[in-house]
Symmetry: C3
Subunit: 360 residues, 3 copies
Amino acid sequence: MIDTPSLVDQYCHGVLRTELGLGTFETHLAPTPALPAAGTTFFDTQAGFAVRRWCPPLLGLEPHCPPARYLARRRELGVLEAGRRLLRASGIATYLVDTGPPGDLTGPAELAATGDAAAHEIVRLEPLAEQVADTSGTVDAFLANLTEAVHGAAAGAVAFTSVAGARGGLAAVPEPPGPGEVRGAAGRWLARRAAGGAVDDPVLLRHLLWIAVGAGRPLQLHLGERDPGTLAGFAAATSGLGADLVLLHGYPHHRQAARLAGHFPHVYADLGPVVARTGARAAAVLAEFLELAPFGKLLFSSGARGLPELHVVAASVFRGALARVLGEWVADGAWSRADAQRVAGLVAAGNARRVYRLNP
Amino acid sequence: MIDTPSLVDQYCHGVLRTELGLGTFETHLAPTPALPAAGTTFFDTQAGFAVRRWCPPLLGLEPHCPPARYLARRRELGVLEAGRRLLRASGIATYLVDTGPPGDLTGPAELAATGDAAAHEIVRLEPLAEQVADTSGTVDAFLANLTEAVHGAAAGAVAFTSVAGARGGLAAVPEPPGPGEVRGAAGRWLARRAAGGAVDDPVLLRHLLWIAVGAGRPLQLHLGERDPGTLAGFAAATSGLGADLVLLHGYPHHRQAARLAGHFPHVYADLGPVVARTGARAAAVLAEFLELAPFGKLLFSSGARGLPELHVVAASVFRGALARVLGEWVADGAWSRADAQRVAGLVAAGNARRVYRLNP
Amino acid sequence: MIDTPSLVDQYCHGVLRTELGLGTFETHLAPTPALPAAGTTFFDTQAGFAVRRWCPPLLGLEPHCPPARYLARRRELGVLEAGRRLLRASGIATYLVDTGPPGDLTGPAELAATGDAAAHEIVRLEPLAEQVADTSGTVDAFLANLTEAVHGAAAGAVAFTSVAGARGGLAAVPEPPGPGEVRGAAGRWLARRAAGGAVDDPVLLRHLLWIAVGAGRPLQLHLGERDPGTLAGFAAATSGLGADLVLLHGYPHHRQAARLAGHFPHVYADLGPVVARTGARAAAVLAEFLELAPFGKLLFSSGARGLPELHVVAASVFRGALARVLGEWVADGAWSRADAQRVAGLVAAGNARRVYRLNP
């Protein structure tokens, strides 16, 4: 049996503080904000089945009990006590928490206290840029403040993350935009922008990513449905500059993400989607990551948001999948037990501790 | 053991009425019209091996007997009697039959009689448009008749299907074309068209799809080798209008199809390629569909055409694959037996009955 | 148990003749020239673990012994003796060797002698064109000499291979360029070229591929990270002309490569990446190839370069994977034992013997 050490969850969000009804709980089981079709429910997904497998026992119920009974028990305990029981049973020792955009989720400190764990902040670049725009009077001030804000954030955060940044222009033009181009884009964006408006200009987004690269922290890029190959140019352009790139959410292109992680020394692949979302299939998806990626380049995460159940499921499914996959390879003689144990430690926590410079 | 109920085959064609020699039979084993390379045969494929596994026993022979012996026995019984024995042993209770383009295959009524099953018509949009063009004298008449023909067909059919529609332009421009654009495209197409000529104008094809969406029936879109992501714009544009979209033939992009089915309430994914074509690998491919798709969004089909053997193989392989995949998850404790049994029923028949409003 | 006959390695390179230190050995474990990240090593990959599983016992050590001990033993035996022991234990009876670009690797004759096997040359088209350019005085002479050189090489080689050819332009324009277009491109390229400069003009590369097609030998196309679908146009354009196309290195798009091999009689898919690089996962990847490809269209290769360990690992992992995958299908009753044995023979050697017209 392969042991998995305490986990570092290298990308997650906080949890909701309010009591949830069945419908609201259900919407959080979908990978993206979506409605179920008439006559169907998101409880009928791998994520839903995994929640029903792993979470009821932590609240004193039978595995696979009906959703309504689980939600009733959850309300009976109260959201705080349920959250405490769930997170403390997850086996996650350290959470890296994406704190943007600002919302009604618990922040790193509160998550740490609830889960009896450590927590560190990941700063999301787009909301940061939007806050700077809200408080800067001129284009010059905005650009100066932006650089200062990113470098300032780097002092207190373990990483940056960007959702919009990997979209569109980065594939076509990976290099940093020139100063005149940036000034022009900033001027046009600020002029057409209402307060709070999202940063959507491709030149500005690219500029933002390059400031973050210059700040030297690991930069997590949300792939969404994009082929990681579209980031190969950006990976080549940032190679050797000192900032690592972590590819988030590559499924179903995770084999390409793993391949890219083998090609560039500073590129890493997140295992996020393997866990919270594919349940009984997690071992199969995890094994695909382990085809071409060097084992020092893969990082566990939950990607969980809103429900502590998702942190629990991610951790439980991941441990089970890792133990099964590596255990079979040991049983076949393909891997030695010592190697398997060592790789489990790297993927579960060691790689993240090294990349994010966390104290063990 | 997971039981699979009687199947609804949500997309298939009729069967040939003529006796077949070895060579003609073989060409129907290829997924697309193709010739085998010199020194090779399409019997040496998963489809060929699956036919030899499942069909000879239904005609009184040993499984895996040589193709020539099987074909000899088939001719001995006669195409009608062989077809009757095969289809009646398939476990398919309802066939949804693509009746276009017109050809020498049995229609829904004949398929139903041969297979002792129910059958309903799926109307293919392109041949319908071509028939309308053949009988309309002017552009105005053509456009008026086209709308009327699609709405008229909706009364007698359970669904529409389109092969050419998902190609090309739909990814770039998902919205319905304006009336002037449609008139112009129709005029140009009719002017250059010989009688019976295929509808290949992207604007007209888009118009045709949007008429079908307006008619409110489920619309089956052939993906071919396209990434289902190219249909995300069309899915977004048709969301909430009342017509469901069913993505056909997504392999090897089936994980993207499954993901899209989780994102849009009105999008469904067909399991077709999993069955008739991948034989011993069907369980593995089916399991990939079951990663991100909500279980209420997956639909069995055979995609069979010409040979009743392909209906039989699709049904047999699908049942076996579903029982194996879900059975393992139950054995692991990942799913409850009751859930597995329920999901098997949805995917095999229940989802199709709901989407196509079939009487149970 | 499925027996695998002696293998034909349909695409590999020679091995290094020099003693290797740990660091140099390690870089050859990466699929592309790459550096490991700080704190990681390419020994921590499936390729590294597979080398440690299969090779130490051939040099008298325990499987999975530490890399440093293995390298010490390798130096103790000497590179020649180690190479002889490794290659002779690989089970590869015939090597098809890519001899370009010229370098410090052993050629076919030396590889054959070391491995006690047969070996044949694969001529790489780009270096051939560059040599012709180095020795031709005018555009006309270059073009005439180029055709002559390719046809001349065809007499002594079993196949052509092209690395740059499948890039860029081939997807957009599959047809052969016209004589004027070729003359213009050749003139511009020769004018701007320093001696030894790489052929990078898309028109010239396309011309080169079409000369090779005309020479009638199988043409191996390196896919790199490209979707094999981008070659569908070239496959269609070359259909029926007598030269086979072999798609190399399709992972992770190997399912598309397998599909294309089923669609065009003259298209074949290489299994290369399945073996040397994915180790404990090779059976899973191999099984994906076996979904849609006709079994007469798949060809084993090692893709090995530089280290005889990579030839050994490829062969060992491939045999194990094939025996496992086919063995399970026989155990399930999905395939007959006789068919499985026959397919194993085709994929391991028979298909290559037929395609490259090798004497058995």
